[in-house]
């Protein structure tokens, strides 16, 4: 690990790419797309180097969360904000997902629409820079800047390039996310002033973790030792709201199906693959570490909401007829699994959540790419009008089959690895959770097969009569996803290895012994003495 500022490089590369794009005349569509793809590919290479470094070297720093590639500089010294970057086993693979999915998104940018293509690509690159920043910031204020910065390019991408329903969807999305993140800013300021009172003028995560919030008395909930309404609890809720909306956890999810329905394909792939994972990442990196007390107080509520997401999303996916909405609700269900793993607050659960973040990003990107291809060919997303595509598009069938199997968590695909680890973690918290999550897996098989077979099988329909199979370029985009789904299913070891080296730090911070609602071990494990 030399002195080269790798993280600054991966942060600035997409932003610089966006700037370079502005120098190109708007008519040169090929050049614009070419530059975008090259920048995205270069980013993948840089991130690959970083992930390799994380996997092969030991972390530095004696802090509570050892980091790699740490960079630190003053940013706004007066208020103690710093430019503090770092990456660890939790963020490394999400970073890789970010770069990889973005490359796919860049590859599917349609070149035909030369109109405002430059702006589109520029906004995409800025969005990538912002998500990268979110993943590597170790300073709360810096994190917040990127978190909000993520919203701006995404807003314009939706507002300018979405389909006819975009107005309502964009408005809903903006209201939800802004409502969430403004409260988070207040909570960040609260943390800052608490630290200031303790003699630390800082927004730095590591310093804040070393000086945890003092235990504050609140109003105890009747019959329990749960302390409600303490300032720390409010601060956690403010963070949790922002993350829960982004993730999203039911009942904060209603913006998501509308948005997915109206977003343009390249942005959607990036959105579903990466942006929704930022909520999960935020919970792991900030939620459970800074607020271990409130998290434990609220753990029963949090896992209940996660479970609700799994089952509710699954049931909703079962009754939708629009392909994008099916995938959107399936996504909510899968993200519920991630949330369940995180809130189990044990190593299996969090490991599983990180693995699932990566795997779900791959799967969901694949699903939306397939839906996009089908919609472009047939002009419809209504499952009742589709059918018989296997006959017309055998190659699409192969890729879609693999992706479907990943999405229903078939053992041997990557979807299974995360799910089984999360179920194990959830079981170690409370056995019933794993059983009910299993019900979610079952319904997942139902809705995924309903979607897959509805599109692929049966007799050829009117809209699928004249479609042609995947072009080479399209296959080139789907093939790596399919390969990864299988590869990470039979050999998930590299992912698990990198993750497992970092997660114990998080588990220690979210010390499970603080739980006020002690479920007896026998009940938890379903063990009979």
């Amino acid at each position: 690990m030399s002195g080269f500022p790798w993280l600054t490089a991966i942060l600035l590369l997409p932003a610089a790419g966006a700037l370079v794009l502005q120098l190109i005349p708007g008519r040169a569509a090929d050049l614009i797309k070419g530059v975008t793809v090259v920048v995205a590919a270069a980013e993948v290479v840089l991130v690959a180097i970083v992930v390799y470094g994380v996997a092969t070297t030991s972390a530095i720093g004696g802090g509570p969360l050892p980091m790699h590639y740490v960079e630190q500089a003053n940013w706004i010294p007066a208020i103690g904000a710093s430019y503090h970057l770092g990456v660890d086993g939790v963020s490394a693979w999400i970073l890789a997902l970010n770069a990889g999915v973005f490359l796919l998104g860049a590859l599917v940018v349609p070149r035909r629409s030369t109109e405002r293509l430059k702006l589109f690509c520029g906004l995409m690159l800025l969005a990538e820079a912002a998500t990268t920043g979110v993943l590597i910031s170790l300073d709360l204020l810096l994190f917040y800047v990127f978190w909000e910065g993520m919203l701006i390019p995404l807003y314009f991408l939706l507002a300018f390039y979405g389909n006819e329903n975009r107005g309502r969807a964009t408005l809903k999305f903006v209201i939800y996310t802004v409502a969430g993140s403004l409260l988070m800013l207040l909570a960040i300021l609260y943390l800052h002033f608490q630290a200031l009172a303790g003699g630390h003028n800082t927004f730095d995560l590591e310093v804040l973790l070393q000086n945890p919030l003092p235990a504050q008395a609140g109003v105890p909930l009747p019959f329990t030792t749960i302390q409600t309404l303490s300032p720390a609890m409010f601060a956690f809720l403010a963070f949790a709201l922002a993350f829960a909306i982004k993730l999203p956890i039911v009942p904060f999810h209603t913006w998501l199906p509308d948005l997915y329905e109206s977003a343009p394909a390249p942005a959607l792939v990036f959105f579903a693959g990466v942006v929704s994972k930022m909520g999960a990442y935020g919970f792991i990196r900030f939620g459970i570490t800074l607020f271990s007390g409130p998290v434990h107080q609220l753990q029963p509520l949090l896992v209940a909401l996660a479970l609700l997401s799994i089952l509710y999303g699954a049931m909703m996916a079962l009754s939708q007829t629009d392909l994008k909405r099916i995938v959107a609700y399936a996504s909510i269900s899968h993200l519920g699994f991630i949330a369940l793993g995180i809130f189990s607050l044990n190593q299996n659960g969090i490991d599983g959540a990180v693995i699932q973040i990566l795997n779900h990003g791959i799967i969901i990107a694949g699903l939306f790419l397939v839906v996009d291809v089908v919609e472009a060919r047939t002009g419809t997303r209504d499952i009742r009008e589709l059918g018989g595509l296997q006959k017309r598009m055998p190659w699409l069938y192969v890729f879609f089959l693999v992706i479907t199997l990943g999405a229903l968590g078939l053992p041997g695909t990557n979807g299974f690895v995360g799910e089984v680890t999360i179920m194990l973690g959830a079981f170690q918290y409370f056995w019933l959770l794993a059983v009910l999550a299993g019900l979610g897996v079952l319904i997942a098989a139902w809705y995924m097969l309903r979607m897959h077979q509805g599109m692929m099988h049966g007799p050829v329909r009117a809209v699928t009569e004249k479609v042609h199979d995947l072009r080479f370029r399209e296959g080139l985009v789907l093939a790596p996803l399919a390969v990864l789904i299988v590869l990470l299913g039979v050999y998930p070891h590299p992912v698990g290895d990198v993750t497992a080296q970092a997660v114990p730090g998080y588990v220690t911070l979210a010390d499970a012994s603080q739980s006020p609602v002690a479920i007896p071990t026998a009940v938890r494990y379903g063990a009979v003495p």
Binding site: K172, I175, Y176, A179, V250, P251, H253, T254, P257, Y312, M315, M316, L318, S319, Q320, Q347, N348, D351, G388, K391, P394, V398, L405, L408, L410, P411, G412, V417, V420, T421, M423, L424, F427, A434, G438, L439, V441, L442, A445, W446, L449, R450, Q453, M456, H457, G458, P459, V460, V490, H493, G496, D497, T499, A500, V503, P504, Y525, G526, A527, V528
Partner: protein, 674 residues
């Protein structure tokens, strides 16, 4: 056998079918039918050859050293105390027996498929799927880690799904595939939860060391500690830490059994198997008769150290097995689709195997598995010949008189029917063997034995109803009249299987048709833990003879009645069945006891209705909180909207007005303060 040899051989037997699958699927469509036929069958042939080498190795190994476990690679390792899984394979007598059937019978069926799929445009896809199935099944039986086992388990389900839905343009095939897959996922989830239960609870069993006089133990008594492992050898070695007869181990075993029931089409997860007959007939022979559906039997046999400690779960397994055997036999009596009759007979026969492993007669269950694989594959392939000959007609009412038109097939089918019914050929040995164990083992013995001999009667009845209706009498359709024998590539596998069905039992059990057999001797080391005998006591010789005679007699009764009703036609069952108490029976049987309808009404429709209801009300309700927040803001702003006239003058007036009010207020306040 050293672990490295085991790893190499296991790797090869896994690799050949996988490579075959990839070749057929990826470049098969380009290179054409001839290549696909070659690649698809040679890969299985190679796997069979490797299996023979493994078999020789196991036979040649010294007693007590036949079992070898090897690690192929590390799957996932999340650190001590957390999930860690490596891709382990075990080669022992049990897995090698399974391998022999999978690759051996698989090879015959692949060869047969070359003929059967001759005119199908999707032949490359077909062989790709079939090879993939062999691969997954091999993985399933070799796995020595629960997660890997579950992966094989699911891969098998996947290939079954793909092959059931092979003719994907048929709506019924698509629905059947979906049903099969979802049922399999129920089993997968049950297995995963069982694995988690084991992972969380398994502790090491303290090793008690009694030192010889004058020496001390190198390893003192260890305290028991959590192992956090899913490796099968470790689970079996420390199974007693889960507590013999405890509720925990009972729960684990019931979950394992649910997985087994889903795969082996046992009540209440049996409804997918008849529908699975939508797939091509070789698929039915290989997957839905010979190998995949018996994986449940294998699972319970493999987990016998756990089931041995859970008598309640084992008893439940035995009851479900026998119950399914009767139920399926009863339903098979009135089905009219040739493949569905055989499917229900499969379900019934597997019920008997499940019964056997439930009462602890594991070797007897595996014996039945072996012989059943022969005669059931035979019946399906022969049925495939028939279906081919009568132009894809599957209704036996449209057949008849085929024995003179398809001599070889008819003779082979007769052998298969006799083997199935349990007279002279295969079934007579294995079925009577396991029923003999039922005489003195199992819950409420010999209650289940008595049910078992009823199954014998039923088996004789439906087996010869099928034979009589399809092959004897006069042709009842033009297609049947013009039927002709299949060609050699589809006959030879049938003849070989007929030979195996006829002879295997005699060879393995020479010279007497009851009592101990070679399979028993071969497998027993696997099922016997050192120091204790097999869990199920073998019946004494005298009891064995009595059981054998009763069993065969019952089979003969069934066969005789069937021959009178459907071949000689001098007995009319409709008079008997017209009696008030029995009038319902034919309808129940024909409608498969209404299971599909019941599940549809109790599970599928309510779930769909709930989903549809949620779609209507769910998101609006979930939206209400943000609507409430934004509603307040909207009301607030619309109240102020009325004064926004857009006239600068108005705004300026408001300003002046409020400045005046403000100034006056300040002055008043100042005045008051004085």
């Amino acid at each position: 056998m050293s672990p490295s040899t085991a790893a190499l051989l296991a790797g090869l037997v896994l690799l050949f079918p996988l490579a075959g699958s990839a070749l057929c699927g990826l470049i098969g469509p380009v290179l054409g039918r001839r290549f696909v036929n070659l690649a698809g069958t040679l890969s299985i042939g190679a796997a069979f050859a490797v299996t023979l080498v493994i078999f020789a190795q196991v036979l040649g190994a010294a007693s007590g050293h036949q079992s070898t476990t090897a690690t192929l690679w590390n799957w996932l390792d999340l650190g001590p105390g957390n999930l860690n899984v490596s891709v382990d394979v075990t080669i022992d007598q049990l897995s090698v027996l399974m391998l022999l059937v999978i690759t051996g019978v698989g090879l015959l069926i692949h060869v047969y498929s070359v003929g059967y799929m001759e005119h199908d445009p999707g032949v490359a896809r077909f062989f790709s799927y079939m090879n993939f199935f062999i691969f997954s099944m091999v993985l399933l039986v070799l796995a020595a880690n629960m997660i890997i086992l579950i992966i094989g388990w699911a891969a098998v389900a996947l290939s079954s799904y793909l092959l059931i839905g092979f003719w994907y343009e048929r709506e019924s095939a698509v629905l059947a595939a979906r049903k099969a897959m979802i049922t399999q996922v129920i089993g997968d989830v049950a297995l995963v939860i069982a694995a988690i239960l084991i992972f969380v609870n398994l502790k090491s069993v303290p090793q008690i060391c009694i030192p010889p006089p004058g020496e001390v133990c190198a390893l003192q008594l260890q305290s028991s500690q959590h192992l956090f492992t899913l490796s099968l050898p470790q689970i079996f070695a420390n199974a007693s830490s889960l507590g013999a007869g405890s509720a925990l181990i009972t729960l684990i075993c019931i979950l394992l059994a649910v997985g087994a029931f889903a795969k082996s089409a046992q009540f209440p997860l049996h409804t997918w198997l008849p529908d699975a007959m939508e797939g091509p007939t070789p698929v039915s022979a290989l997957i839905h008769a010979a190998t995949m559906v018996t994986a449940g039997v294998y699972l319970i046999a493999r987990f016998h150290p756990l089931f041995d400690l859970a008598p309640i779960a084992s008893g439940m397994v035995a009851c479900v097995g026998m119950g399914t055997a009767v139920m399926a036999g009863f339903i098979a009596l009135s089905q009219v689709d040739i493949k569905r009759v055989i499917a229900y007979s499969t379900m019934s026969q597997i019920g008997l195997m499940i019964f056997a492993v439930g009462i602890g007669a594991y070797a007897a269950g595996m014996y039945q598995f072996l012989l059943h694989a022969f005669f059931k594959a035979l019946l399906f392939l022969a049925a495939g010949n028939v279906i081919h000959a009568v132009h894809d007609e599957q209704d036996i009412r449209e057949m008849g008189g085929l024995d003179s038109r398809m001599r070889v097939t008819a003779w082979c089918f007769l052998v298969g029917s006799l083997a199935l019914a349990g007279f002279l050929f295969a079934g007579m040995f294995s079925k009577e063997d396991l029923l003999g164990f039922g005489l003195i083992n199992g819950p409420g013995a010999p209650a289940l034995y008595i049910v078992g001999i009823v199954v014998n009667v039923l088996t004789g009845l439906y087996a010869f109803r099928l034979y009589g209706t399809a092959f004897r009498g006069e042709p009842r359709s033009d297609a049947a009249r013009n039927a002709h024998e299949s060609k050699a590539v589809m006959l030879w596998p049938v003849v070989i299987l007929a030979g195996l069905s006829a002879l295997a039992g005699w060879i393995l059990q020479w010279p007497i048709a009851f009592g101990p057999h070679l399979i028993d001797a071969f497998l027993n080391p696997v099922f016997t833990s050192p120091g204790s005998g097999p869990i199920a006591k073998a019946p004494s010789l005298g009891l064995g003879v009595i059981g054998f005679v009763i069993g065969v007699t019952c089979s003969l009764i069934g066969i005789a009645i069937a021959l009178r009703i459907w071949v000689r036609r001098d007995l009319d069952p409709s008079r008997v069945l017209a009696r008030p108490g029995l009038r319902l029976l034919p309808r129940l049987s024909f409608n498969k006891l209404y299971f599909d309808e019941i599940y549809d009404a109790l599970l599928v429709r309510p779930t769909r209705a709930l989903a549809r209801g949620l779609r209507r009300v769910g998101d609006p309700v979930m939206d209400s909180w943000i609507k409430g927040v934004s509603g307040v803001a909207t009301d607030f702003s619309s109240a102020f909207r009325t004064i926004q006239t857009g006239l600068i003058r108005d705004y300026a007036s408001y300003m002046v007005l409020f400045v005046v009010i403000f100034t006056v207020a300040v002055m008043l306040a100042a005045g008051l303060a004085k």
